[in-house]
Symmetry: C2
Subunit: 206 residues, 2 copies
DNA sequence: GACTGTGAAGCCATTCACAGCT
DNA sequence: AGCTGTGAATGGCTTCACAGTC
């Protein structure tokens, strides 16, 4: 069955919220309570979950721990993922430090850059390699995800190397549209575009 | 008329692409060419633009410069916007260095943090202030946009201060759902959620 | 009584296909 | 002939409302 992308996105948010609840000692939860926690609606929570099975009990609700485990499995984050970051500039460095990745079991295995002064140094205990080593590293360490944090002009070149090396997914932070073949998954996080949607809404005070 | 959010998002991307074309010396462009440049379809480009007026010439196409000017105006980025960043950690620091903001005339006027060691220092020529000064600063300098780059646990607290100070829009990077009143615009950029959509698609090899 | 699961309805966005202009 | 602008058709997502279960 075709699952809306928006549903997948929300599942990730539900999962994080459920973890929070569990840490607070909450063991049972209703779709309405989840909805409240994530600024959604109870019908949507139920519909999102219903795509994948029946995880709750009618009249009762959901068990926090079990539901989170189910979602975690759906999202494919019950096991670990090996990640590399391309670009050791400010953004690449910040992403390498970002604690949220390790918490969700995304392991940053290497950073790549073309700046001689950075190669060989460490960022948050992760070694910085030359871009020329990237192809080899990805193949030898079975890296599945590449995060692109280089200037727009270099982005497509970097992406091409990642793809040739057999990467499966790309998360692009460069402010440009990148081209990837069918079989490679990719998403772009565009900081300026996000700001410009805000200004649009301000100017056209919706 | 109600404009799809996806349309606004794409307008920002068209604008960047048009600027690129102009710098390459291209003066005229068709909807098909724009579509190719941004991985879209020509019908969608035309429909997106048609929401706002008739900017092209039938049988001919669009004038690059003029079209970009129109889009720029629609997005409200023909004038400058004053921005503050909350959080002087790795992410806040990277955002303060980010060149893409200034290029699009978003001016970062201040960074706020609660770490005594950071207050008074400069990040990329921008002064770091105490969070306790934030309310005042926003009011006195007529700041319209606040970027939140603090840990999840502090995010809502920071957001509340921003709102009380009269901020109009918030771009949130904290990995948590934030609550804001109706009249304040906000968007969240969630790094982990983006990665988890990738893993979902890998595991469920769509 | 409370809450889930779900078909149906409603709403929104994208794509189609063609009339209209140059 | 080439390309825009746009109503109509399609497809996809969200909301509604209620039957089913505890």
């Amino acid at each position: 069955m075709k699952i809306p992308e928006a549903t997948v996105l929300r599942l990730s948010i539900y999962s994080r919220y459920l973890k929070q609840l569990w840490e607070k000692g909450v063991t049972n939860v209703s779709s309405g309570e989840i909805a409240e926690g994530v600024n959604g609606t109870s019908a949507q929570v139920r519909k999102d979950l219903a795509y994948f099975g029946e995880f709750g009990t009618r009249g009762v609700g959901y068990k926090v721990r079990i539901l989170d485990k189910q979602i975690t499995e759906i999202l494919g984050i019950n096991n670990e993922w090996e990640v590399v970051i391309v670009g050791a500039g400010n953004l690449g460095s910040a992403l390498t430090h970002y604690k949220g990745f390790k918490e969700r079991r995304f392991n940053i295995q290497a950073v790549f850059d073309n700046d001689e002064n950075k190669i060989g140094s460490k960022i948050n205990d992760v070694l910085v390699y030359s871009i020329t080593d990237m192809d080899n590293f990805i193949k030898e360490n079975d890296i599945q995800i590449g995060i692109v944090a280089v200037p727009a002009t270099y982005a497509q070149g970097v992406v091409d190397i990642l793809i040739k090396a057999g990467i499966k997914s790309i998360l692009n932070f460069a402010p440009t549209v990148i081209s990837v073949p069918e079989h490679v998954e990719h998403r772009s996080v565009d900081l300026v575009v996000n700001l410009e949607v805000l200004t649009y809404n301000l100017v056209n005070k919706k």
